[in-house]
Symmetry: C2
Subunit: 149 residues, 2 copies
Amino acid sequence: MEPVPMLLAMTYRAMGDQFHDRLRQIGLEPLRPAHGYVFRFLKEKRATTVDIGQHLGVTKQAAAKIVNELDDWGYVLREPHPTDKRAQYVTLTTKGRDYLKLADNLWSDLENEMAEAIGEDTLATIRQGLAAYLRHVHGEDQPGLRPVW
Amino acid sequence: MEPVPMLLAMTYRAMGDQFHDRLRQIGLEPLRPAHGYVFRFLKEKRATTVDIGQHLGVTKQAAAKIVNELDDWGYVLREPHPTDKRAQYVTLTTKGRDYLKLADNLWSDLENEMAEAIGEDTLATIRQGLAAYLRHVHGEDQPGLRPVW
DNA sequence: CCAAAGTAGTCAACCAAGTTGTCTAAGCCT
DNA sequence: AGGCTTAGACAACTTGGTTGACTACTTTGG
């Protein structure tokens, strides 16, 4: 019997490949999964580069590189932290929020197709099951988002 | 709502991290996920380096590097292909098969813990659902095993 | 049957995306 | 005040892949 992680990896890749293909037809900058996850994170909470690194599961230096790219491309900008003069908040620009909307549409297309293929209830069970497992293993503090190969 | 791939990535990482931690306590060579997946692949079918690369979703050169490491460490050996003088079959040594057994035990421990946490039936649904989706998207030809970050 | 096209494996150069280590300036804590 | 911690930046390095080129062998089609 195949280990579950293999199924997870293959499904992750299958979905990611499709997403990437559809995205490429639109012809934006070469955004990687990490960039998208940063957008999603920034939509929820104000965050510094260090926060982002922690969320992705990489060092702050690696996170800084990603933030720099997003800045260069105009998806985010930095604004001074109100109380801490060392820190900067990274915030989404309009371009960033637009991208996020587009990506959300693509993802929901893909999930609808998945629901159609395996059943809506099955998909819901997968969602809830994985979320429950994650809560079980780590408490509130989430694991890194980046799959370690 | 969080996209499903994020859940997949986080669960993959959570399980992989635990596996790695437990494995490290035993103190073997620094085997990465790819190595394990190669063992599992070789157990099923005779394969060349090119086959392995395809299975992992990397180039044959990258696969060759992995096979070389496994060879150096004594987990696999190469034997001449019966009909094609260019090719070599990569086969598991006893050490390789032993590792695979050990890994299988660790994985089944982890899956049992998962089943306990989220319910055996939920885990079964996840298994079947993901497998069904993969069959739906790709036919028989599997996607790469390696998650693309 | 032979020539052209394709394939397995290897070598080498390169690249992307992380890492560790170091430093400065700023904050925090008794 | 003084000592520890932290955000961010810079640099050197590592890892794990890539592309490209080449040899030896195999397959295919006229």
